[in-house]
């Protein structure tokens, strides 16, 4: 009964305070004004958690009985300068890699970076679970070499979720980074394979409570790596916002499971926060696509263009405009709403776009930005890119806040977005995107649609009837080049 051994109260309290710091870190994100303070709370919480853990090993610090009981020399070993140097060295290596990456990474590559970071949390969870399995005494979760059953459940869960997070995030990273095709890859009979693998994991995890043999534990890990891979491979590029949020959630649940093993409040609170954060983000993304979470996870969406329910022939008449036309229309307008999408990120057009906005504002045009929740490859992707280009955040609006304004707007400037503007989502019941909330750009007096060519369709594989409307003018070019030309024409 390890909990009954006198617990150094300050240790438990320190972890609790760390947990509260993490809550405040997320709380700060409710507004850009408090967000930086929130981030500092997060850092403080982490320093407290790591510091407490390290200090427990110092003389007089005492050990948390949660892990102390089985330790032969609770004080001596920890102070070994070699061990301490190893630990500090490991932290320094990680810090170096992390800081350099954080500084060098381009904002457009943020989705990949987040996926890569998720994979690290997942792997760390697997490693900690494996270490706890190999040396349960150090974690105080075993009696005479027999690991407590509850701990086995927690450990198995932590390892399984961690492994799924790892391999799933690696695939998400490869897809987002372009090392792997963004198209869904469909294995024959994948649902049967996936369900079979999941059932095997659950079965073995249950068996693990009866038999703590190594093969059980490591088979659970191996199968979980496999299922993470199998789950993400069939999911297409534009569904990545859901996938990235889901993996975010998983990394939290993995941390929480390990927190249960260690009886550590900071880990449990953090795991719950991160888990619910990712789950809520996945829900928001699914709602913004009017799709169920199950259908996203089942994958395969956007794979076959034959699903095009709009059925409109490509050879309908449409209008083509030039950069000069666009510049003229916008400079005459009272209000312009810019609708960015993933194409803007690919073309790195955000800086040119802000320049265009600045010139228009100088001419007395009101410029606003409208963001669809699933624009880009991760939640909030467009907001970060616009912020990077120095667009003030109070000019950037979410769908529900700005949708009513299109009717009072002279020019809607759609750049790199497609499906999220398709009016068919409101009218055409046969369309695969029917019911998805879309930006009402067609209500603006004129729609300027920047697109590479007329041939390509959006991710959903549907033709956009917006292209053929009387009030739409197509600007066919690379997004960045087109905006730069408009800037030239305006200046």
């Amino acid at each position: 009964m390890h909990e009954a051994v006198a617990l150094p109260a300050w240790v438990a309290l320190a972890y609790l305070v760390a947990g509260i710091c993490f809550i405040l870190a997320l709380r700060g994100l409710s507004s850009p004004e408090t967000a930086q303070r929130g981030n500092r709370f997060g850092i403080a919480g982490m320093i407290l958690a790591v510091g407490t853990t390290l200090y427990q090993f110092a003389p007089g610090g005492g050990l948390s009985p949660a892990h102390a009981p089985a330790m032969p020399t609770p004080r001596g070993d920890w102070l070994d300068p070699v061990v301490l140097a190893e630990i500090l060295g490991a932290i320094a290596i990680g810090a170096g890699i992390g800081l350099v990456t954080a500084r060098r990474i381009q904002m457009t590559a943020m989705p990949q970076l987040v996926a890569a970071f998720h994979s690290l949390v997942g792997m760390a969870a697997v490693l900690v679970a494996a270490a706890a399995y190999l040396n349960p005494d150090a974690f105080g979760i075993a009696t005479g070499g027999v690991i407590h059953r509850i701990s086995r459940v927690e450990m198995g869960l932590g390892a399984a979720i961690g492994a799924i997070t790892f391999s799933g995030s690696v695939i998400a990273f490869l897809k987002l980074n372009g090392n792997m095709s963004g198209k869904p890859i469909l294995l024959p009979g994948r649902h049967v394979i996936n369900l079979g693998t999941l059932a095997a994991i659950v079965g073995l995890a249950a068996y693990f409570t009866q038999d703590q043999a190594p093969w059980v534990f490591f088979t659970v890990c191996a199968l979980s790596f496999l299922i993470g891979f199998l789950l993400i491979v069939p999911i297409g590029g534009a569904d990545m916002p859901v996938v990235v949020s889901m993996l975010n959630s998983y990394s939290g649940w993995a941390a929480a499971a390990m927190g249960f093993t260690l009886h550590n409040t900071a880990m449990i609170v953090t795991g719950a926060l991160v888990g619910s954060s990712g789950a809520i983000l996945s829900y928001i993304m699914c709602r913004a696509m009017n799709r169920s979470f199950i259908s996203v996870i089942a994958g395969g969406f956007g794979g076959d263009a034959a699903a095009a329910g709009g059925g409109a022939a490509i050879d309908r008449p449409w209008k083509r405009g030039s950069a000069e036309d666009a510049a003229f229309l916008m400079s005459q307008a009272e209000q312009v709403i810019i609708v960015p999408g993933y194409g803007m990120a690919v073309a790195q057009a955000q800086h040119a776009l802000r320049e265009m906005g600045d010139i228009l504002k100088k001419e007395g045009v009101s410029v606003k930005y409208a963001i669809h929740p699933v624009a880009g490859r991760m939640p909030g992707h467009m907001n970060v890119l616009l912020a990077e280009a120095n667009v003030p955040y109070d000019e950037v609006f979410e769908l529900e806040d700005i949708n009513s304004e299109f009717a009072r707007t002279d020019v809607a400037f759609v750049i790199g977005a497609n499906d999220v503007t398709n009016p068919a989502a409101k009218t055409d019941k046969s369309s695969p995107i029917y019911g998805m909330p879309v930006l009402d750009v067609e209500k603006a007096k004129t729609v300027l649609f920047v697109k590479r060519s007329m041939g390509g369709v959006g991710y959903a594989g549907v033709d956009n009837e917006l292209f053929y409307r009387d009030n739409t003018m197509m600007l066919l070019a690379d997004a960045k080049k087109m905006v730069e030309e408009i800037v030239k024409a305006l200046g």
Binding site: A25, H67, V83, A130, N135, R149, N390
Partner: protein, 129 residues
């Protein structure tokens, strides 16, 4: 180095200064106390989920990317487990896994907080003249 640690542990002087811990832990693996412990931390977990639910719905959608970055950083609090494994003697394999986990979690902690700070510094208000 591991050898050295073991040697140290075998020094009788060290052992005599610490109480004999293992004697205290004899308990049924699924005994009553362990179950109550489990339920008390489960309570913390469930309540924290509710806190998370309300806090995260309060996050402005414009900051969803920094939210992911910072949740990433804080979920690396799993480093606590990695530190315990890395510091424990006895099973070299577990120790090295722990050290590797410390490296991975540190990448995340430093990288996650730094990239969040970098992003948040970009969010600026309109200059009002």
């Amino acid at each position: 180095m591991i050898v050295k640690t073991r040697l140290e542990r075998e020094r009788p002087g060290r052992l005599s200064t610490s109480p004999c811990w293992p004697a205290n832990v004899a308990v049924d693996p699924l005994g009553k106390t362990t179950l109550m412990d489990f339920i008390s931390i489960l309570s913390i977990f469930v309540l924290a989920c509710f806190v998370g639910y309300f806090v995260v719905w309060g996050v402005t959608p414009a900051l969803h990317t920094p939210l992911m970055a910072v949740t990433n950083a804080i979920s690396s609090v799993i480093i606590v487990g990695a530190l315990i494994a890395a510091a424990a003697a006895g099973v070299p394999g577990a120790k090295w896994l722990g050290l590797l986990a410390v490296v991975l979690a540190s990448v995340n902690i430093f990288g996650g907080f730094a990239v969040t700070a970098r992003m948040l510094a970009m969010y600026k208000k309109k200059e009002r003249r």
